[in-house]
C-alpha cells in the first residue's frame, strides 16, 4: 500500500515555474480586469479633456470615493458572508444627524461623534439579532431597519438641514485638514484600506466569514459558530458606515435627513464589480475599492465632458451591467476550461 502511495506522490502535484505562475495569477486576478478598464478610461479622458490629468481633478475624484469607500469595505465583508445590508444609507445619515443634534445640545463634538458611532453599532446589532435569532432574511431585515432609521433621521431633524458651523477646528480637521498636502480624508482612507485588506486576508476571524458565505452548513459542521459570525458582520458593516457618516459630518459641517440615499446600491455594485459575489464566499477589499473608484472616475469624466448630470445614474447602471457581464462570461469560459468529468 505504501508503494502505491509513493507512485501517486510523483503525480499528485504538477510542478510549475513559480515566477510564471505568479504572473499568471496576476493576470487571472479579478482586479486586473478592473485596473485595465480604469487605465483605459484614464487614457481616453486625458485626451478628451485638458483638465483630467490635473492634481485638482485627481484629488477631487479620490476625495469622492474615499469616504463612501469605507462603507464599501463593510459591504464587501457582508457580501462575502452571503448577506446584504440595504440599511447603510440610512445608517450613514443617522450617524450624521444624531451626533449633530447631540452636539447642538451642548455636548463635546468628539463625544457626540462617539455616541453616534455606538448608536450605529447598536443598529448593526439589531440587524444581526433579527437575522440570527429571529431567522429573518437579511434583505427584509435591513429593508425594514432602513425605513425605521431613515424615519428617525427625519424626526430628529424635522425635515430640515442642520448646520454645524460651530464645530471646533480640531474636529473639522477630520474632514478638511491636510497632511503634508494630502487631505486627511484620503490619508485616513488609505490607512483603513490597508488595515482591512490585511485583516480580511489574514485573520482567522474574517476567514470564517468566507467559510460561512461559501457553505453555511459545511461551516457549521466544521465547528464554526455561524450565528456569531453573521451577527458581528452586521455590527461591523454598520460600524464602518457610522464612521463614514462622522467623516462626512466633519467635512460638510452639516447634517441633512436625505443624505446617503442610494448608498447601498453604490456599495453593492462597487463590491460586485470588484469581484464579490451575491452568493457569498468571494470578495476582496482591493477589488471593491477599484469598483467604487471606477464609478467615480466615470462620473467625474462625464462632468468634465459636459455631459448632462442626469446621465450619471444611467452611466452607473450601464457600467455595472457591463462589468458583471464581462466577469460572468469569463467565469463561464474558465469553468469549461477546467472541466473534469466526475461520474
Amino acid at each position: 500500500m505504501s508503494a502505491m502511495n509513493n507512485v501517486q506522490v510523483e503525480s499528485t502535484i504538477i510542478k510549475r515555474n513559480p515566477f510564471l505562475s505568479i504572473l499568471k495569477q496576476i493576470k487571472n486576478m479579478r482586479e486586473m480586469n478592473i485596473i485595465l478598464i480604469i487605465i483605459a478610461v484614464c487614457v481616453i479622458m486625458s485626451f478628451a479633456s485638458p483638465y483630467f490629468l490635473t492634481w485638482g481633478n485627481i484629488e477631487s475624484i479620490v476625495m469622492q470615493f474615499s469616504t463612501e469607500g469605507i462603507v464599501v469595505i463593510g459591504m464587501t465583508v457582508m457580501l462575502i458572508l452571503g448577506g446584504i445590508d440595504i440599511s447603510v444609507g440610512s445608517i450613514m445619515c443617522f450617524s450624521m444627524v444624531l451626533p449633530a443634534k447631540i452636539f447642538l445640545a451642548g455636548v463635546n463634538p468628539w463625544i457626540s461623534a462617539l455616541a453616534g458611532l455606538v448608536a450605529c453599532l447598536i443598529i448593526g446589532a439589531i440587524n444581526g439579532f433579527f437575522v440570527t435569532k429571529v431567522g429573518l432574511h437579511p434583505f427584509i431585515t435591513t429593508l425594514a431597519t432602513a425605513g425605521i432609521i431613515r424615519g428617525a433621521c427625519y424626526v430628529l431633524t424635522q425635515g430640515s438641514q442642520i448646520s454645524l458651523y460651530t464645530l471646533p477646528d480640531s474636529f473639522k480637521y477630520i474632514g478638511l485638514g491636510k497632511v503634508s498636502g494630502i487631505p486627511f480624508i484620503i490619508v485616513l482612507f488609505i490607512i483603513i484600506v490597508i488595515i482591512s485588506d490585511f485583516m480580511l486576508r489574514k485573520t482567522s476571524v474574517l476567514r470564517n466569514v468566507f467559510y460561512t458565505g461559501s457553505n453555511e452548513k459545511a461551516a457549521r459542521f466544521s465547528g464554526i459558530n455561524v450565528d456569531k459570525v453573521k451577527f458581528w458582520v452586521f455590527v461591523l458593516c454598520a460600524g464602518l458606515t457610522g464612521l463614514a457618516g462622522i467623516i462626512f459630518m466633519a467635512r460638510f459641517g452639516m447634517a441633512t435627513p436625505n443624505f446617503g440615499v442610494g448608498l447601498e446600491m453604490t456599495a453593492i455594485a462597487s463590491a460586485v464589480i470588484g469581484g464579490a459575489s451575491m452568493s457569498g464566499g468571494k470578495g476582496t477589499v482591493f477589488g471593491s475599492i477599484l469598483g467604487i473608484c471606477l464609478y467615480y472616475l466615470i462620473s467625474s469624466s462625464l462632468i468634465l465632458l459636459h455631459v448632462n448630470a442626469y446621465w450619471q445614474e444611467f452611466a452607473r447602471g450601464l457600467i455595472l451591467l457591463i462589468a458583471i457581464s464581462i466577469d460572468s462570461i469569463g467565469e463561464m469560459r474558465k469553468s469549461r476550461r477546467s472541466y473534469k468529468a466526475a461520474a
Binding site: 502535484i13 459542521f221 459558530n225 472541466y339 466526475a342
Partner: protein, 498 residues
C-alpha cells in the same frame, strides 16, 4: 445481429481545454439489453453519456441510432431520437407536481394557452401505474428519493424512449427500493428498450446486466458478456492494476485490546431514534448498519451536537463529556464526517488549502493571524499522505473528482487530530480505486488509535471493514454482531427488524 444494434458510437473524442476526456471511444448498445458502463472517476463515463444525451457535442466521431448516422446537437434532439436520461442527481422541479414534471417538455411545446389538467393527471397515472403507486398530483418534493427516481423514469417513458441511460441509480436507494428499480428495468428490457447502466456497484452490475463495458482514461478497454467474466476481472480492467484483497485486514480479535474508549448511553431525540447505546473498543472499527432511514446519521449528528437530543450521555475513556455545540464536540476530538460532502462537508468554491484548514484555523495561525507557510505545509502534508490528485493546493475544489473531494473532507477532519470519528457513507459515489485507498486509510487510522464508527448502507463495506457491527432498525437498536456473525444475511435480518 446488426439489426439489433440500437445505438453505436464510434471514435468519439472530446476535450475540455487541456483535458482529454474521451479518446476514440466506441461502444454498441443492443435492443433489449442492459449494458453496464463501468470505470473509475475521470474515466469518461459521464462525458460519454452527456454526449449521447445531447448536452455536449463531440469533437470528432460518429453516432448511429438504429443504423442511421445522427448528430445530437442538444437535449431536445436527443429526446426526439428517443434517448432518455435518469440522472444520478434527480433533475426534476421539486415544487411542481409529478404529472407536470413528466410532461414538462410537451406542455412547453404545446401552442395552446391552457393546460387540460385532468387529461394530464390521467395520462400520468397510466404511465406511473406499472412502475409504482404515485399520486400524479403530488409535488415532487414530497416524494421519497426512490419515488422521485420513478418519476424520472416515467418521464423518459412518456417520450417513448428506445434508449434509457441510468446514472448511478441506486446511490440513494435502500435495498428494497433498488429491487423495485431492477424489476422495472427488467420489464423495460423485455419491451425491447436498450438500457445503459452506469454503476460502481459490482453486485448490481452482475445481477442485472447482460454486458459490461469498461472505460479507463476516456478509452474503451473492453466489452464483455457478464456470464463470461467476474467482478475481480472487471475491477482489474477498470483500475489497470491488480487490486489485492478488496478490504484491508481486520484487527485480530484474540490479541487486540478489549478496552472501551468511547461510549454513548441512552441517546434519544424523541423523533428519529430512541435509547441508542453502544461502545467502542480501542483500535476497532465499529459498524453502524441499518436501512436508509433507520436513524444512524441522526444518532451520529446528535452525539456531535449537530442535531438536537432529549437525552443521552457521552463517555470518553470512562469520563463523562458534555457536548453542547459542534465546536465543543470538535474540541473534545469527536467529529462527524458527513455523508453529504457537497452540501454539508466542503466549500466547493474555495481552494483545497482553505478547505483543509477550515476545521481548525488554530493549527495554521499565530495570535489570530493565519500564517501562509503553516497553512501550505499542512495542506501539502495531507495531499501527500492521502494521495489527493490535484494540480495544486490553490485549485478550486469543485474541479476535483468525487473521490479526491472525499479525501479533502477526510483531511479536513484529520487536522483536528480526532479521537473518535463518525464516518457517514465515506465511500459513497466513489470509484473502486479511490474506495480502496480510503478503506486503507480508515484502517490505518483505527490501528493508530482513532476510534472509528462506520455508518454505511453498503453491506459489503460493513462486512469487509468492521470488527463489530451495531444494527439499527427504525430508530432502535436491533442487535450487535461480532466475528462470524458479521455477514450480509445476518445484518439484513437485524436491519429489517426480523
Amino acid at each position: 445481429m446488426s439489426e439489433n444494434i440500437l445505438l453505436e458510437v464510434k471514435g468519439i473524442d472530446k476535450s475540455f481545454g487541456a483535458t482529454k476526456a474521451l479518446n476514440g471511444m466506441s461502444f454498441q448498445l443492443l435492443k433489449g439489453e442492459v449494458h453496464a458502463i463501468v470505470g473509475e472517476n475521470g474515466a469518461g463515463k459521464s462525458t460519454l453519456m452527456n454526449i449521447i444525451a445531447g448536452i455536449f457535442a463531440p469533437d470528432s466521431g460518429e453516432i448511429y441510432i438504429e443504423g442511421k448516422r445522427v448528430e445530437i446537437k442538444n437535449p431536445h434532439e436527443a429526446e426526439k431520437h428517443g434517448i432518455g436520461f435518469v440522472h444520478q442527481e434527480i433533475a426534476l422541479c421539486p415544487d411542481v407536481s409529478v404529472a407536470e414534471n413528466i410532461f414538462m417538455s410537451e406542455i412547453n411545446k404545446n401552442k395552446r394557452f391552457t393546460v387540460n389538467y385532468k387529461k394530464l393527471y390521467d395520462r400520468a397515472s397510466k404511465i406511473l401505474k406499472p412502475l409504482a403507486n404515485i399520486n400524479p398530483r403530488k409535488l415532487v418534493a414530497d416524494l421519497s428519493i426512490s419515488n422521485q427516481q420513478v418519476v424520472e423514469i416515467a418521464k423518459a417513458l412518456s417520450m417513448n424512449c428506445k434508449i434509457i441511460i441510468f446514472d448511478e441509480p441506486t446511490a440513494a436507494l435502500s435495498e428494497k427500493e433498488a429491487e423495485s428499480l431492477f424489476k422495472i428495468i427488467r420489464e423495460l428490457k423485455s419491451n425491447g428498450i436498450g438500457i445503459i447502466y452506469i454503476s460502481h456497484r459490482m453486485a448490481e452490475v452482475f445481477s442485472l446486466c447482460d454486458r459490461v463495458t469498461v472505460m479507463r482514461d476516456g478509452r474503451l478497454i473492453d466489452t464483455k458478456n457478464i456470464n463470461e467474466t467476474d467482478s475481480k476481472e472487471i475491477v482489474n480492467l477498470m483500475v489497470g492494476r491488480e487490486i489485492g484483497d478488496i478490504y484491508p485486514p481486520k484487527r485480530d480479535s484474540s490479541t487486540c485490546s478489549k478496552e472501551t474508549i468511547f461510549e454513548i448511553r441512552e441517546f434519544s431525540d424523541g423523533k428519529r431514534f430512541q435509547n441508542i447505546s453502544f461502545d467502542l473498543k480501542e483500535g476497532e472499527i465499529l459498524g453502524l448498519a441499518g436501512l436508509v432511514g433507520a436513524g444512524r446519521s441522526e444518532v451520529a449528528q446528535s452525539v456531535c451536537a449537530l442535531n438536537s437530543k432529549i437525552s443521552g450521555e457521552v463517555y470518553y475513556q470512562g469520563s463523562r463529556i458534555d457536548i453542547k455545540s459542534p465546536g465543543e464536540s470538535i474540541k473534545h476530538g469527536i467529529v462527524y464526517l458527513t455523508e453529504d460532502r457537497k452540501s454539508a462537508g466542503l466549500f466547493l468554491d474555495l481552494s483545497i488549502k482553505w478547505n483543509i484548514s477550515a476545521m481548525k484555523l488554530l493549527n495554521v495561525s499565530k495570535k489570530g493571524l493565519i500564517q501562509n507557510h503553516l497553512e501550505t505545509n499542512q495542506c501539502d502534508t495531507f495531499i501527500r499522505e492521502l494521495g489527493i490528485k490535484c494540480s495544486g493546493m490553490n485549485q478550486n475544489l469543485s474541479s476535483l473528482s468525487g473521490g479526491n473531494q472525499q479525501k479533502v473532507l477526510l483531511a479536513k477532519l484529520l487536522t483536528v487530530k480526532p479521537r473518535i470519528v463518525f464516518m457517514d457513507e465515506p465511500t459513497r459515489g466513489i470509484d473502486v480505486g479511490a474506495k480502496n485507498e480510503i478503506h486503507r486509510l480508515i484502517r490505518k487510522l483505527a490501528n493508530q488509535g482513532t476510534g472509528i464508527v462506520l455508518i454505511s448502507s453498503e453491506l459489503p463495506e460493513i462486512v469487509g471493514m468492521c470488527d463489530r457491527v451495531v444494527v439499527m432498525h427504525e430508530g432502535r437498536l436491533s442487535g450487535v454482531v461480532v466475528d462470524e456473525e458479521i455477514n450480509e444475511k445476518k445484518i439484513i435480518q437485524l436491519a429489517s427488524g426480523v
